[in-house]
Amino acid sequence: MEKIKTMKEEKKKNAQAPWADLNLSNEKLIKIYRDMLLIRRFEERAAQEYGKGKIGGFCHLYIGQEATGVGAIAPLREDDFIYTAYRDHGQAIARGMSSKGCMAELFGKATGVSKGIGGSMHFYDLSKGFMGGWGIVGGHPPLAAGSAFATKYQGRDSVTICFMGEASTNQGVFHEILNMAMLWKLPIIFICENNGYGMGTAISRAMAGEHLFEKAAGYEMARGAVNGMDVIEMYREMSVAIERARKESLPTFLEARTYRFRGHSMSDPGQYRTKDEIDEYKKRDPIETFGSALKQWNVLSESAIEKLEEEIKAEVQEAVEFADASPQPPIDVLYDHVYA
């Protein structure tokens, strides 16, 4: 049984770029950086628009966790599948869903990725294997295992990845699914985004035991923890896990240690964390960290980063204008699609 090494905090001080062992072109590296930055700016703008009343309901931002989503999705193939919970904007963008369609969904417009029917928690794009977007804590991992079951059944070598919050691993069904995924050797990667809190509850108050990823030990599944604030480390560990799923049809459980910089949702004042704690994590901002590395290894210059910023600012602005100008869904779709 292979066990992935627990993350190493200190950077290797060698003469090589952190991605030297990975087959990553400069173009791909820049794309990874751009995706993270786009998610950040998209989410910041979503928060503003929520404040203006343009977005309703529950809205969970991905700010702080960008490296986890982008690093996990970047090594996937187009025919792979992605499942996630309600904190889904970032992963949708990382999968190449348009910022326009995503913003329009938040605005409840007909041009949204789920035609305004889903809302913030329910982004979907079957054509991109983006299976959403689910609101019940612990509800979607079984579906993700079902996706892995189906691809294996049909003899395809697609893999399924399943994001989930650390608090959802306390639900009973999580254990049912880990058991079956291993028992039936399903090509799936569970990515547990451990941001330390389930709403206002710190993980230590909700979970017995300290090592979250060892929950997979009882099922003898490949497992480990990874620095979810480091997009390259995410990419590397995911590549190994994807290979294992694709070639050997075996599951992996990855605990990505990350942090959300904002409240649980837009309605959470977040009084359960100290400012010091948040500031400490902000020092490890995944976008800044990766940006510095890209500069250090001459992949991106300062001016190129500024140019990217401008480009993304314009893209997000365009997304908001598009969402604003789009029509609400017509009332006559109300009863559409209750049944196939």
Binding site: G57, I117, G139, Q171, Y272, P329, L334
Partner: protein, 327 residues
């Protein structure tokens, strides 16, 4: 009389019952240190501490079962289990329906299950399909459960006290949209017995039956109808199981017409049962078939305009009233 929000009235009921009986405790997600997702349990953790105000992991089936098991021992433990919303309580339906509701019957009365499951139920605003479900009909379907649905601070407090003191599993369904609603609550203790409805507005021309959030919709419709000379009675059953059949039949015998308003789905709803009872018991008194206004028979859409179209409204109630009045 003090003017309280519904959340404060519920809080008082819990607080007073915890003071009165050391066997009463509350557990659920975020009920302690966070003071409740909707601030219903504000201050209770500070007052009673970890032993009696308990934050749980997100494990609805697990902690519902722990509550039921604790209640069943017969050694004076009376849990209140907060469900962050009833949408999430679905995970605990096995514990509630297969276990809590049957323990007394299967043990030929050896076990009592004095437990309250409470939390917000029904659509709020733009929360989408998985977070906007009114599930009282599913609960009311089950023999062995009591289902209560308060609509005012006064009712919420008196009803919850009755629920906590009862020896049966009680499903207590509140509304997220109503927690801030204010109303008078007496200083002195009072109990509103299980199974007792209330006339929220007296009238003679038609009976509008509604509970929780729909009472306000019914009352608004009644005010509008008054302007047209139609005098509507608004009846709140308050407890859905057991139903205050007597009050309902009495009212319909007086008005001869009835409209039921609920924000649950129409198929096999509590309203369906009420309509059936009126049709069979008071058939000779009816001047028109009972009408029912429900949420649209669909999972709730997110878009504001669609959600509005899907929900019951005073306009829809007014139209239904006019229909039963042939106006």
């Amino acid at each position: 009389m003090a003017v309280l929000q519904i959340r404060e009235a519920i809080n008082q009921a819990i607080d007073e019952e915890m003071e009165r009986d050391s066997g009463v405790f509350i557990m659920g997600e975020e009920v302690a240190q966070y003071n409740g997702a909707y601030k219903v349990t504000q201050g209770l953790w500070k007052k009673y501490g970890d032993k009696r105000v308990i934050d749980t992991p997100i494990t609805e089936a697990g902690f519902a079962g722990i509550g039921i098991g604790a209640a069943m021992t017969g050694i004076g433990v009376r849990p209140i289990v907060e469900m962050m919303t009833w949408n999430f309580a679905i995970l605990a339906f096995d514990q509630i329906i297969n276990h809590a509701a049957k323990a007394s019957y299967m043990s030929a009365g050896q076990f009592k299950v004095p437990i309250v499951f409470r939390g917000p139920n029904g659509p709020a605003h733009m929360l989408g399909a998985q977070h906007s479900q009114a599930l009282e009909s599913m609960m009311a379907h089950v023999p062995g459960l009591i289902v209560m649905t308060p609509s005012t601070p006064f009712d919420a407090k008196g009803m919850l006290k009755a629920a906590i003191r009862d020896d049966n599993p009680v499903i207590f369904m509140e509304s997220e949209m109503m927690y801030g609603n204010k109303g008078e609550v007496p200083e002195e203790e009072y109990i509103i017995p299980i199974g007792k409805g209330d006339i929220k507005r007296e009238g003679t021309d038609v009976t509008i039956i509604a509970w929780t959030k729909m009472v306000a919709v019914a009352l608004k419709a009644a005010e509008e109808l008054q302007k047209e000379g139609i005098n509507a009675e608004v009846l709140d059953p308050r407890t859905l199981r057991p139903l205050d059949e007597e009050l309902i039949i009495e009212s319909v015998k007086k008005t001869n017409r009835c409209v039921i308003v609920e924000d649950s789905w129409p198929f096999a709803s509590v309203g369906t049962e009420i309509a059936h009872r009126i049709h069979t018991i008071a058939f000779d008194y009816l001047d028109a078939p009972v009408e029912k206004i429900n949420s649209a028979d669909i999972p709730m859409p997110y878009a504001e305009n669609l959600e509005h179209a899907a929900l019951p409204s005073s306009e829809k109630v007014i139209a239904a009233v006019k229909k039963v009045l042939y106006r």
